[in-house]
């Protein structure tokens, strides 16, 4: 079930508050989930996909959700954004998602600065980042 998640940067950790948009079939159902434990044992998060809708960087805004899958691998929790070949990791789902948020922001800023030097394997990633993220100001 696709879910759009807004992680509040001030509440990263466990438990954290998130807003989520749950899409059931063709009809989006808006709802708010608060005090959700994104800890290692949270089976409601692990193995599921989300549309990431915010980054931990006030300079950047996501305008189209980035699909993220959260799962356990090699004793770590991984948050993977397959479409941009990026992943974050941590001891908890909250840590892994926050790590991914930071990495995506860093990746956007690095690619923006180095756009003319990106090789053909990285340009498609930059195209996706540019389409889904806006730099403010």
């Amino acid at each position: 079930m696709p879910v759009t998640m807004n992680l509040d940067p001030k509440s990263v950790g466990s438990p954290v508050s998130i807003d989520r948009e749950v899409v059931a079939g063709p009809t989006p159902i808006l709802g708010t989930l608060t005090e959700v434990d994104l800890g290692k044992g949270d089976s409601s998060i692990l193995g599921r996909s989300f549309g990431l809708a915010s980054l931990l960087d006030g300079r950047l805004r996501i305008v189209a959700p980035i699909q993220v899958r959260v799962y356990e691998d090699a004793g770590q929790i991984v948050a993977e954004a397959d479409e941009i070949d990026e992943f974050g990791s941590g001891e908890t789902a909250g840590e892994a998602i926050a790590d991914l948020q930071r990495l995506i922001a860093d990746l956007y800023l690095e690619f923006a600065a180095d756009e003319s030097r990106l090789g053909p394997g990285l340009r498609p990633i930059w195209d996706i980042l540019r389409a889904k993220i806006r730099k403010l100001g």
């Binding site: 004793g75 180095d114 090789g119």
Partner: protein
């Protein structure tokens, strides 16, 4: 497939990736001032997570990574592979 930190480090070093250490070890390969590949590994102990993604970022399959880690694939072989995949002009 499992990859240890030391194997990752050996491969990116041998292939000439530049590295920057922060929360993770970031590695990127520049050829003629063009960034052609980027990857990273965590500092966690034991096997690295997300091996499938690391291999994809390196543009290698499991056998090719193993060859690289076992020293039978050199930097020149790797660059030839990237040229075959049209990732280097």
């Amino acid at each position: 497939m499992n990859i240890k930190r030391s194997e990752f480090d050996r491969v990116v070093d041998k292939f000439g990736f530049q590295t920057r250490s922060g929360k993770d070890l970031h590695a990127w390969l520049e050829v003629e001032n063009v960034v052609v590949a980027r990857t990273k590994r965590s500092h966690c102990k034991g096997d690295l997570p997300c091996v499938r993604k690391i291999l994809k970022q390196l543009h290698l399959d499991e056998d090719q990574f193993r060859d690289a880690a076992d020293c039978t694939m050199a930097r020149g072989d790797y660059l030839s592979l990237l040229r075959e995949k049209k990732l280097i002009a």
